[in-house]
Symmetry: D2
Subunit: 303 residues, 4 copies
Amino acid sequence: MKNTAVLLIDCPDRKGLVARVAGLLYERGANILHADQHQDHDLGLFFMRVEWATAWGSPLDESGARDAVRADAFDGNFDLEGFRDAFAVLARELGMRWQLTTNARRPRVALFCSQFLHCMADLLHRWRTGELDCEIPLIVSNHRAVEQLAGFYGVPFEYVPVTAAARGEAEAHQLALLEQHGVDLVVLARYMQILSPAFVARYPAAIINVHHSFLPAFTGARPYHAAHARGVKLIGATSHYVTEALDDGPIIEQDVARISHRDQVEDLVARGRDLERLVLARAVRWHLDRRILCYGNKTVVFD
Amino acid sequence: MKNTAVLLIDCPDRKGLVARVAGLLYERGANILHADQHQDHDLGLFFMRVEWATAWGSPLDESGARDAVRADAFDGNFDLEGFRDAFAVLARELGMRWQLTTNARRPRVALFCSQFLHCMADLLHRWRTGELDCEIPLIVSNHRAVEQLAGFYGVPFEYVPVTAAARGEAEAHQLALLEQHGVDLVVLARYMQILSPAFVARYPAAIINVHHSFLPAFTGARPYHAAHARGVKLIGATSHYVTEALDDGPIIEQDVARISHRDQVEDLVARGRDLERLVLARAVRWHLDRRILCYGNKTVVFD
Amino acid sequence: MKNTAVLLIDCPDRKGLVARVAGLLYERGANILHADQHQDHDLGLFFMRVEWATAWGSPLDESGARDAVRADAFDGNFDLEGFRDAFAVLARELGMRWQLTTNARRPRVALFCSQFLHCMADLLHRWRTGELDCEIPLIVSNHRAVEQLAGFYGVPFEYVPVTAAARGEAEAHQLALLEQHGVDLVVLARYMQILSPAFVARYPAAIINVHHSFLPAFTGARPYHAAHARGVKLIGATSHYVTEALDDGPIIEQDVARISHRDQVEDLVARGRDLERLVLARAVRWHLDRRILCYGNKTVVFD
Amino acid sequence: MKNTAVLLIDCPDRKGLVARVAGLLYERGANILHADQHQDHDLGLFFMRVEWATAWGSPLDESGARDAVRADAFDGNFDLEGFRDAFAVLARELGMRWQLTTNARRPRVALFCSQFLHCMADLLHRWRTGELDCEIPLIVSNHRAVEQLAGFYGVPFEYVPVTAAARGEAEAHQLALLEQHGVDLVVLARYMQILSPAFVARYPAAIINVHHSFLPAFTGARPYHAAHARGVKLIGATSHYVTEALDDGPIIEQDVARISHRDQVEDLVARGRDLERLVLARAVRWHLDRRILCYGNKTVVFD
């Protein structure tokens, strides 16, 4: 497992941005592993993601040919704090918004669900097998259905019932739990309650939801019923960041599956579960890999 | 090229429908090539499509093993009119709506377009190479852009300009042309004018349109602009029968393509052209093959 | 949960097959839920699947309109054994191979795996939530990695190590376990050992494997490495019945995912896991729903 | 239509490559429109594509807000030859292979086909509507079927029959035509003759073929027959650069379509035509946009 740093940048586009950033990294001795940039020409915006090695824990066992190529790459530790200070100066000059993170500290993720557990079981299995690089200190549900599964994976479970009358108290309880566990990201794995604007405002671009339709078609409740009634030939699922407006946040990922006249609503529900699992898992992984930048109501997903 | 008949049925579901229909065909000596049925359990409806050989123009050159199997199949002509009379009695008894057609008479199709010709060029090429089994007696457009292409394929072209002030006259002209050419099916191959309810009522389930979005998302004008603004990760196209309500008729086919943050509106337009071509061509072919049954606002597409 | 019977038929094609089968079912009072047939015109073969209700455990709560339609459908129990006897006579006359099964007895499935558990975890979750209608009396592995997961789902686990020297003994042990547990279907959920022809011969069309490539490309070991070396732009996975010839049995389902030059072998492995899960789960479900007929080295999958 | 330059680079990976290249472009005043790089960590290779504006033919009609952002971008012409000289020095130092091209000179493309014209008709329509930015000075075929289509699009047609006995002469004739027309890229749009190694050697990474299977499955003749015989559930098509080894060159693009047991060979052929059109058109467009780098037997396709 290597140690890496990721720098995410967005700013007004102008000449020389790549040269300035790449130049500083080169000067500081960074061994760049991945770099990607994007320009939105219509809006005049620039986006960049750079990932580089900061340290290597184990001796190399590469073949001679590759050693030669990579010789200058593995020269010990990168001075991350020194870089941060130098970059801050540059960023101020160029009007950049930026985040610099390392995988030394793993993000802390809370999973929310209701009675349907397919996304939850999928995320927990991926986490257990190392596909999701995070801590999961907390599972929250308004049902007890997930309790056994949480136990199997050794994740503390908190039962927080939600009633129309006491929604505010429930959210206060949830927020206290999130704070107490130092949660960075909330994943709504088919959590069937609507979060209040106040809750959402506490975690900007840090709550990921899966909606069981191809947004913006079929927002709101019972999208498979609506899709069946409309007679569509493909159903979809969408993962997105949660904002105040229901089902209207920046889309991270979407996928579809072909259906036919033979499929009744319950078939759509079953087919849809596979889509939901996939688009939610991808969104969570990309977020954890710091591949996503939000701007306006859209996302850049670096690949 | 074999001669075949196709029977399309829809009616309230009840026991014995397949047995009764198949029994009558067997009794009359039909050699069934394809049969498919569908039940909508929620609505209690039954749908069926049967296709059988009515005559064979050429001697067989099959191998012995297959001759044995098919020996009883190729026994001359099927008495279609006798079957029609007998079936009418059965259909009345069982409350069936039905269509019985043969490929002896090829459907007559009119193609409408405006200035974008990708769907038109695609349909004409498919027609020329035998993929679409129909006559095309007429191309209508409110632009002259298609004139050369129509000439190359030897299809009469009618220029019918449409202005807001004289929309009624234009439609009257179009309808007269359709009648004069005995048109059975109108295909709107990116025809950018809205047809009046009166026009649509003249061709129920016989006008096919392609809309450049994944309906019901992004109805109306400039769907690619809307898709880009919403930040979707897939774009789509939809072919459907035209009804009074704009972009709301029974969906025949849909398809999607993946896009990314790198794609600007003009990229969506270019990617979308390939989708539009495919979903429109499939819809037209299925209609010509009499594979489609409309019910409510949905389609059954037998495959 | 309704009780249903399924009849699967394959035989030489001839006139009147649908009429004869549907006629007998109608005469016996069957309420057909689904019927589908297929003709392979090249080979002169006919295939049919019919599913009908045999009993209904609960009173109906349908609306009046639907009651009227369905009134004659729910008239108590179907005499399955009487039908079986009558059908056997017909089948003999028409040279049919056939299977008649009901969901009164749930199939018994054994799951085999090695150290990778993504397919296993997926199948067990689907089983727990009712998506797979079967008993799972047994999990067998040559690794202990699956033991905890088996325990969580309450399925007996048998550790059967396999060495090159003692492969025969291991298989004898496995076969004894299968017999002891009355297993009908063996699912190889990334079981990385090759079964001997003698083992395979004991379960014809009753062992389902998932291979991590788009067969017939990249048979054998390390298909993701081979795909990466060849520079393909899509990777795939295939579920199939196991036959004597490695990776050459009748294909049940395949799917693919797009990759790019950015994806290294480990990315292919990760992307592929999602494909493997899906194509294996679909194959198992279709087999349990008795939707699959094998002929030659191919499958008919009724949908 | 803007004027742009594209620089494609591949070389051994080492620190500072992006910084050096971006720095030089910045220093020379380039307004970068797109930049993308890729590292093959296993092989220790680095790939880069940069596209920048070299001149702008028309005054801007952008809004004020965007003018401010882009003010420094549109400052007249870029000294391309000066940059070329400076970059050559850098490239030598860093061991780079590189190509520097502009769209001032449009590539010259020859299209080859045999009797099936779906790819040819598709490419010519795309070319006519501006989707393919090239000259097409020449269509070559061993059949006369394409002659009318060539005439419609105003492209000179050369009939070059190929017989087993006189293959060498035919190729000599073809090569003379290519030279005479200054052809840069040869596109085999379902050209059903195998080119000799000597021919291929004359156009390295400059002959694009479409093969009607999902390579490496079903190389050679009649792949749809082979796919049908194997009972696959998806069919595919592949565009690739032609090398000496048949159907074994670097893959540029692949796509697949789902089929079922109902599809006979002729259905596969029809479905496959749509795939062939798409994968070939994409490959040609990407080549013309200078998005493709070959290395080993693989491609990097910058998006």
